[in-house]
């Protein structure tokens, strides 16, 4: 069996890319990477189990239609039966197109390896993380889009060959005018540690202590929906049922009540810490560690404790 993994060259060294290759390796067969763009040192993907990387460097900012054609061409020459993506914003645009093009069923947002004892089925999040579903694929070729932070990257190989590949993808129908990527931001869905705050912080001027704590931990920042709606924080930080769904190792929620729609997007987190003045806040029911206290008092103290810990470790 052959498995093809799509990697966006510009994110080839993101943890999510290593996770996708590791996942593909665990499926048991040979793993081949098809990459687009100008990423450097693609050979490193071999360390996670790829036997070969095929790359189309001409496709640096391809649109979804072009990337779909590239992967389809690679699937044809390799005869891959399974195609793996990391479930990021490129995958959300490309994997569904590829599914129709190859007549291959798509498992979107897989959180575990497939069960192949009876057909081919895989566990996914449904109802915004309030439940899990087991989806089986009925088509011969299968596509899996793996939710970030679902498995740990594992080193089990060495650098591999990198070959140029021409997907003959034609011209882009979509013209990119400008790209805005804030420097140094950890993309929320990939972050292992997240510090998040809500309306309990009273105003945008009070986010300094949240950012300080996030910096000390090496965490990304997030917020509740009303906070993004009133413009205290940017929209891309809004987590929950109608925002970004995340599943970090640690989620620290400060001054957030824990409404069901908020919990829906964060309850996949491995460990949840809640800081709230109200002992009755519903978030405590979903928390592993709770602190009943005033954020303005607790967060600076927590930051000091984290710094002390970091200095000692």
């Amino acid at each position: 069996m052959k498995t093809l993994v799509y990697i966006n060259g510009n994110h080839a060294h993101a943890k999510a890319s290593f996770e996708a290759v590791t996942y593909a390796k665990k499926l048991g067969g040979e793993v081949i990477v098809i990459a687009s763009g100008n990423g450097s040192d693609l050979a490193k993907l071999g360390e996670y189990g790829a036997s070969k990387v095929m790359v189309d460097k001409s496709l640096d900012h391809g649109d979804a239609q072009q990337i779909t054609k590239l992967i389809a061409a690679a699937a044809e020459v390799t005869g891959a039966e399974v195609i793996v993506f990391s479930h990021d914003l490129v995958a959300k645009a490309v994997a569904p197109r590829l599914s129709v093009r190859l007549k291959a069923g798509l498992i979107s947002g897989a959180i575990a390896l497939p069960d192949t004892s009876n057909g081919f089925s895989c566990k996914v999040n449904v109802f915004s993380g309030k439940a899990f579903g087991l989806v089986s694929v009925k088509t011969a070729t299968k596509i899996i889009s793996l939710l970030p932070n679902s498995i740990q990257p594992e080193l089990n190989g060495s650098d591999c060959a990198v070959e140029d590949f021409n997907g003959n993808v034609g011209a882009a129908a979509i013209k990119i005018i400008d790209t805005k990527i804030p420097e140094g931001n950890i993309p929320l869905p990939e972050a292992e540690l997240v510090v998040s705050a809500g309306r309990g912080l009273k105003g945008p001027e009070n986010w300094g202590m949240i950012e300080d704590l996030a910096n000390s931990l090496g965490a990304a920042t997030a917020c509740s929906r009303p906070v993004a709606d009133i413009g205290w924080r940017p929209h891309h930080e809004h987590v929950g049922q109608t925002g970004v769904a995340i599943r970090p190792n640690l989620y620290i929620a400060v001054g957030i009540s824990g409404a069901i729609q908020h919990l829906a997007g964060v309850n996949g987190s491995k460990v949840i810490v809640v800081v709230n003045t109200d002992p009755e806040a519903p978030f405590f029911k979903a928390a592993d560690y709770g602190i009943i206290g005033d954020a303005f008092d607790v967060i600076p103290k927590l930051n000091e404790a984290v710094k002390k810990f970091k200095a000692a470790h």
Partner: protein, 246 residues
């Protein structure tokens, strides 16, 4: 401009999620259905705004059974001109997309809008599948959409940031937060919705690619460990030694 907006239903966001028939079916008992928030707040409202400024027609389409007519009327009350229901249970994303694509092929729309994702199955699949089936370009997760003749300028979410793009019609776009502001239907809209045309169209023969076999609920959380607000060293210590996350 002729705009098609894809509408699906989803359980009210406060619904208790449970399953029946040996955990193979979603338990609809006591569940209120709403228009999927992304479809209603962003895709539909932006379509209406475009119609209000540059004219045209907004058709909503749902792949679903008669039970979904109530949700369709809710979307009509917000202001869509007419509705189409493809009369079949949408068993998977491909089945739904193939139905919508077949209808769109026969009816020539300039712009097809969907929500970012359904909040029940969260696949974010249908829009891309429609685009591929129709061989049209696709802008995913758009947070802004401006019309300039037959050219559209859009802002979309990309990994780690935003991108501004231009595309020509016809086009498929999935709509995310930022695109428009939620509209609350008024009494006149609700009355008018009752008599707006709702066309029922038979489904085309398509085999689903995937099947939901069963469901499980997350394990119940163990009780929360409470920590003294004056002892943050203990929290850090527990996060390191017990939870092993830092």
């Amino acid at each position: 401009m002729k705009i098609l907006v894809c509408i699906s239903k989803s359980p009210d966001t406060t619904s208790k999620i449970a399953f029946t028939d040996g955990n193979t079916k979603f338990d609809e008992n006591g569940v209120q259905y709403i228009v999927n928030p992304y479809d209603e707040w962003y895709a539909l409202v932006r379509a209406l705004e475009i119609k209000e400024t540059s004219g045209g027609n907004v058709t909503i389409i749902t792949v679903g059974t008669a039970a979904d007519d109530a949700v369709i009327r809710k979307a009509l009350a917000i202001g869509a001109d007419d509705a189409v229901r493809i009369d079949a249970e949408a068993t998977d994303a491909y089945f739904a997309a193939a139905q919508i694509a077949a209808y769109a092929k026969a009816n020539n729309f300039d712009l097809i809008l969907t929500g970012k994702e359904t909040i029940n199955y969260n696949g974010s699949q249908v829009a891309g599948m429609i685009a591929e089936d129709l061989d049209l370009p696709f802008v995913s997760l758009a947070t802004k959409l401006d019309v300039n003749g037959s050219t559209l300028r859009l802002e979309q979410e990309i990994v780690g940031g935003l991108q501004i793009v231009e595309a020509n019609l016809p086009l498929v776009v999935s709509c995310a937060k930022g695109m428009a502001e939620q509209r609350i239907p008024n009494m006149r809209g609700i009355m008018a919705a009752r008599t707006k045309p709702l066309q029922i169209v038979p489904a085309v023969a398509v085999d689903a690619f995937t099947v939901y076999e069963s469901y499980t609920l997350p394990d119940a959380k163990k009780a929360c460990t409470m920590i003294d607000p004056n002892n943050m060293d203990e929290l850090v210590n527990l996060l390191h030694t017990e939870a092993k996350v830092i």
